[in-house]
């Protein structure tokens, strides 16, 4: 395997985690990852090997996703039966319920908000790298992040998703 392939492969688990959170369904998420990897491979000459590959790969995933959002469309609250079974069998039911609520809230925020919440909150991407990934100024990253969090919180505090649930997560 070439060095560049090795380097790309190293990042696949993170791309998958991000994709899994960004869209619904394991297969659809992996489709997004695969499309991203094929695009990255096709433009591998464009990668500056002196730089960290992670923001470069995530910026490709961002553009693949943004340009084909319809293809990877989230189907709100589509939880598979096996996931429901897992939830029912979970030792701490409240944690699982909260996760479902948060998942539902995440389903409902805009694509833009979901991306920034996950890039920073899940992938722990720096604000600077996030700006690069999304192709926006860092000031926009900060203001978008703030709005996205407020929105997610509003959805979580919706009467149908009682806030008491989320407090039980430890």
């Amino acid at each position: 395997m070439s060095d560049i392939k090795n380097e790309i492969v190293r990042h696949i688990p993170h791309l998958r985690r991000f994709a899994r959170a960004l869209v619904n369904g394991v297969e659809v998420a992996d489709d997004l990852v695969q499309d991203c990897l094929e695009r990255a491979w096709a433009k591998r000459d464009k990668w500056d090997s002196r730089r960290d590959m992670r923001p470069w790969l995530f910026s490709i995933m961002h553009s693949v996703y943004a340009n084909n959002a319809r293809r990877y469309k989230r189907t709100p609250s589509m939880i598979s039966y096996s996931e429901l079974d897992d939830a029912a069998a979970a030792p701490d039911e409240h944690v699982e319920l909260t996760m479902t609520d948060l998942q539902r809230a995440l389903d409902q925020v805009s694509d833009e908000h979901r991306e920034i919440l996950l890039l920073i909150g899940l992938e722990q991407m720096s604000y600077k790298d996030s700006a690069e990934v999304l192709g926006i100024p860092i000031g926009t990253v900060m203001s978008r992040l703030m709005r996205a969090r407020k929105r997610l919180r509003e959805l979580m505090t919706d009467p149908t998703m009682p806030m008491t649930m989320i407090r039980r997560v430890k």
Binding site: S2, R20, A21, G121, L122, M146
Partner: protein
């Protein structure tokens, strides 16, 4: 969030949530939050979101990578159909065909599991013609591959659009030739291929009809015969063979690649 008249900005607050401040800045924010309990609660919840994201999705990091994700350096993975996707939807049609939908549109809209009636009529015709001509020993084709230029020129003229017989030799199948047929009221072409074992494949095509949308590869079968069909901007295609579904899906990809070069 009230950002006025203080040294602690919104950016500081978000950075505090993400634990990206130095100790001095962090202490400043904490002092500020002591006087603003409502904001403090809000930020705690944001931190909880971050932790919850990890709780929900970190297990993905430990999953074994599916094969298809590590083969991105192989050209053939483009325009793929995964078997997992093949399992998504199977809908029985009244004519005895089974049409499947491969979950996503490589070249078109996603969400309509079954092709329109116009397309399905073509698929039925293609299966019938496949059954009629592939067993032919002496006259499987009207124009043999030795006259390929003439064949595609003639068919292009009759179909009123450019048609080509893609080279499938990399799959072991070589062009035998083709014939002019019809589907509905439209002229259609059938190309026939054969491998060293005498197994035959037909590629049936006609001009895209009004109301036919671009579509992903779809699967259809009749008895032991399998087919994939799709529509691009100009033409609709049906690729049929008694080869396995996997084999024919691979072939369909090759056809698609060749036609879109």
């Amino acid at each position: 969030m009230p950002a006025s008249a203080r040294t602690v900005t919104d950016t500081h607050l978000q950075s505090y949530v993400d634990k990206r401040l130095n100790r001095l800045q962090e202490a400043e924010v904490e002092k500020f939050l002591f006087d603003h309990p409502v904001i403090k609660t809000e930020l705690r919840e944001y931190q909880l979101f971050n932790r919850s994201f990890h709780h929900m999705f970190d297990s993905v990091l430990d999953e074994r990578l599916p094969k298809r994700l590590v083969e991105f350096d192989q050209e053939v993975t483009k325009n793929r159909i995964s078997l997992a996707q093949a399992a998504v939807v199977f809908i029985a049609l009244s004519v005895g065909l089974v049409a499947g939908w491969f979950g996503r549109g490589e070249f078109g809209p996603v969400g309509d599991p079954v092709a329109g009636e116009t397309t399905l009529a073509m698929v039925r015709d293609a299966f019938s013609y496949h059954a009629v001509y592939t067993p032919e020993v002496r006259h499987p084709v009207e124009v043999p591959s030795s006259q390929q230029a003439h064949l595609v020129g003639w068919l292009s003229k009759r179909l009123k659009t450019k048609v080509t017989a893609p080279n499938l030799s990399e799959t072991g199948f070589n062009l035998l030739g083709g014939r002019l047929l019809s589907s509905g009221n439209a002229p259609a072409a059938q190309f026939m291929y054969e491998n060293a074992k005498g197994q035959r494949v037909t590629l049936f095509t006609r001009k895209r009809q009004s109301g036919e949308a671009d579509s992903a590869f779809r699967y259809a079968s009749k008895g032991k015969v399998n087919g994939f069909y799709w529509t691009d901007s100009e033409l609709s295609f049906v690729l049929i063979s008694d080869a396995s579904k996997e084999q024919i899906s691979k072939m369909a990809h090759v056809v698609y690649e060749k036609l879109n070069k």
